[in-house]
Amino acid sequence: MNIGLVGHGDRFEVLAHLLRNHTISYWPGDDASLAHEDGAELPAHIQRVELEALKQTPLIFLCLPIHRLRTTGNQLGKVLSGRHILVHTTRNLEMSTLSTPSKILGEETPTLRCGFLTGPFDATDALAGRLCSGVCASDYDEVHDLVIAALDVPGVRIYRAKDLGGAEAAAAYSRVIAILVGVGRQLKLGAGFEASLLTRGLAETAHFVLYRGGYESSAWGLAGCGNLFFDASSHHLNGESLPHRASDAQIGAEFVRRQDAPHAKIPDTIRKDFGSPADNLFNLIASLGRVPDESGLPLPILRHALKLVDGEASAREIVESLLTTPVYYE
């Protein structure tokens, strides 16, 4: 199969590896400076192409940060048609509008057949040949069929889901929980705290998914629960990784590591040191900040995460405040 691959980053590397049995047409996107590491040779099955060549690739994977999705989508829209299938891997919502990536692609391209590939997999596991599982969420059976056929390699399990909007909401919101898991782990608050945070965090994620018109089950699936557990896993939190590849939980842990600094300044220093992963995460939380007022949902974990990334309180104060929020029925 001739498959298109656009973008960069961790998911890009996973897909580049898992799609090794196919011919890959790689387009770096509309900003070539963010392309696959300069000078690094591309594997033999990947061929760098110009935008026009993507006309011939019916299935295209997009691995892009949210702020690049609209401009890149607009470029892609010049060559795509209703026949193409676009599958993105972006766990985020547009800052100003809270639009999902699939909605953005629907506005910027003529294609209607979109999907979202997400779940607990990363480059480390994929390149080591360890088990990878994920979910392809799409309204279209053909998208599921092609993605599963493309990723048909040993050790890879791709589930199907029909709730595209719900999966995107769950995958984005679970990052809010992950940042606080990192805070709790670094403060050594113990397994009880972490278990409570994960459980109540998923409940909050489910409320958000419902509010966004999705199905509650998407929060408990690989898009919500799967991503969150993966972000919060010990391997992920304590493993060595470069700042520009840091997980959300690792970024949360940084708030504790830097607690001697004035808490109002910590978010900016983290942004400076970690770059786009921190920017994306903090911008997402800031965008979601208006949801409690708009929806009428309490969302206490989100409110506290917002205070953390706004520098309103220290990590310890945030956790103490969280533990004093009123308790109701589960």
Partner: protein
């Protein structure tokens, strides 16, 4: 315009019936072969069960295709029938239902209707005092011209010119909003007046037994829909019928809301059954003829100041939504009285109705220009055939799951087009403002409590006008952003004039005036109808308290 496609309908009729029967029969057989537990007997049993239940319960004046004893007999024998016998029953049912559904078109009746209809409608909508119309033998032609001159009272606007071009290129499917039984009549006149072709459309079977309407229904291309029949076979036949008509190039019309809006809100839920036939017909066209005629969808909004059946519609809505919270009021009037009252009262008013044609689109929701070119959301030309091609091989194919999603997407595009093309008129704005001010007086009461207890409340005139002023500013900004439309009257008149106009409408037609002017304000009487007319504005996310907080 060359002769419209509907003019050849009667010649085609037998072929259409035959094709619909054959297609439905073959599709059902193919489906039953695919699934072990879905033999023909299940389909027939479902039909028999539902028809026996229905016929035991009620029988309207409409002819029944098969009697209850026939259905009972089928039901009893079904378990013992051979496959061949079941197929015979299936074929017979398909034939009899299709014959019943299929309409007819007589060009002579069409010419009569397009000549006589404006006279009838003119009497309903013409503003002038009937005494002014010169009804003498010397001036009959002038008199009829007077009554026929509806163009002042029924305003046609929107993408009419584009549609005239597209009618020559492909098959049009009009999708109007639905508030009243007057809609079909108005659409028929509007299409004729706008130089657009006549259409075929599904009409409730009850309209074919009404002595006033049946003659026209039977001869103007309408096909019968028996809403009492709910089983899958009948629904499948209706959908196939619609598809076959589209494939044969017959311009069509159906109401995507399915039924009249009870609340007067712009349709929020679009029924997808018939809408989906446009994609199936389009794909069939591509598969059978490479140069098949394209299909174009056109959302249309019908915007009334006053609605003929408002009282019964809002009552129906409140009863369904409110349940035990809604207390029913007695209404003595029958249908004829209502029509008569509507005719008398609206003749006194300059009642304007706006028929607005939205931007046409292809079956996938892409806007289309007058050359028939589809464009995506960013204005780039797009090939609509690409949507029904397999991603890997590029071959055109049906895909039930894919097409169902496309239909949902197109339904959403139609819903948004309805909102964009809704024309808000003085009566909507004034009714909305008055009811919202009433709600502000009793912030803890829900709508049902307000309806029950707040009748007779007085709203200060200066407050109402201040709110209306703020609302107008907000609406004009929304119109600039393309979110809705306001009527020419609202655009060209002052707040005071709009308030006066709205109030005068609210005193007209209905069994008692909805509002009564007082020295310094307005007394609110029929709150359910005020709520009904204000619901047109509530179709949009407008928070009056937020845009005018200090009034």
């Amino acid at each position: 315009m060359s002769q419209p496609s509907l003019f050849r309908y009667n010649k085609d009729r037998a072929h259409i019936v035959s094709e619909v029967c054959q297609r439905t029969y073959s599709a059902i057989l193919a489906e039953t072969r695919r699934k072990d537990d879905e033999g023909i007997e299940y389909l027939l049993n479902e039909a028999a069960f539902q028809e026996v239940e229905r016929l035991q319960g009620e029988q309207g004046p409409e002819d029944e295709i098969h009697s209850i004893s026939w259905w009972r007999d089928v039901s009893r024998r079904l378990g013992e029938m051979s496959e061949s016998q079941k197929r015979t029953i299936l074929r017979e049912l398909a034939q009899s239902y299709t014959e019943d559904i299929t309409g007819s078109f007589d060009p002579r009746v069409y010419r009569l209707a397009t000549g006589a209809l404006p006279v009838g409608l003119g009497m309903l909508f013409k503003a002038q005092d009937l005494r002014q119309i010169p009804f003498s033998a010397l001036h009959m032609r002038k008199a009829f011209k007077h009554l026929r001159d509806l163009s002042e009272r029924i305003v046609i606007e929107g993408h009419v010119d584009t549609l005239r071009h597209l009618a020559r290129r492909g098959t049009l499917v009009f999708l109007p909003t639905h508030s009243s039984n007057m809609d079909s009549i108005l659409m028929g006149w509007t299409l004729f007046q706008a130089g657009l072709p006549p259409v075929t459309y599904g009409a409730g079977k009850n309209l074919f037994t009404n002595p006033l309407t049946s003659f026209f229904m039977q001869n103007l291309g309408a096909y019968k829909v028996d809403r009492r029949i709910k089983h899958s076979l009948y629904k499948e036949l209706l959908k196939t019928y619609s598809q076959v008509l589209l494939e044969r190039g017959y311009h069509s019309l159906f109401f995507p809301g399915g039924t009249r809006s009870r609340s007067n809100k712009v349709e929020e839920h679009i029924k997808l059954g018939l809408l989906g036939t446009t994609i199936t017909a389009y794909t069939n066209g591509l598969l059978s003829h490479k140069s098949a005629k394209p299909i174009y969808l056109c959302p249309v909004t019908i915007n009334y100041n006053l609605v003929l059946e408002a009282e019964s519609l809002i009552r129906d809505h409140l009863r369904r939504e409110g349940g035990r919270r809604y207390f029913l009021e007695d209404d003595e009037f029958n249908q004829l009285n209502k029509v008569f009252r509507f005719a008398l009262n609206t003749m006194q008013m300059s009642s304007t109705t706006v028929m607005r044609f939205g931007e046409p689109m292809d079956p996938f929701g892409n806007p289309v220009d007058l050359n028939g070119t589809s464009f995506d959301a960013r204005g780039r030309a797009v090939d609509p055939t690409s949507y029904v091609r397999k991603a890997l091989t590029g071959e055109v194919c049906h895909d039930i799951s894919r097409d169902h999603q496309y239909t949902r997407h197109t339904g959403e595009c139609v819903r948004r087009a309805f909102l964009k093309n809704t024309v808000l008129m003085p009566v909507h704005l004034v009714a909305f403002v008055l009811f919202e001010l009433l709600q502000q007086k009793f912030p803890r009461w829900d709508v049902y409590r307000l309806l029950r207890l707040a009748g007779g409340e007085i709203i200060a005139g200066h407050r109402a006008q201040a709110k209306l002023d703020a609302l107008l500013i907000d609406l004009k900004a929304r119109e600039t952003r393309g979110e809705l439309r306001i009527s020419n009257f609202v655009r060209d008149h002052t707040c005071a004039e709009i308030f006066e106009e709205g109030c005068s409408y609210l005193r007209t037609y209905h069994s008692s005036p909805l509002v009564e002017p007082m020295m310094n304000g307005v007394t609110l009487n029929k709150l359910d109808l005020l709520y009904y007319y204000g619901n047109r504005v509530r179709s949009f996310p407008i928070d009056l308290a937020a845009i005018a907080p200090n009034t």
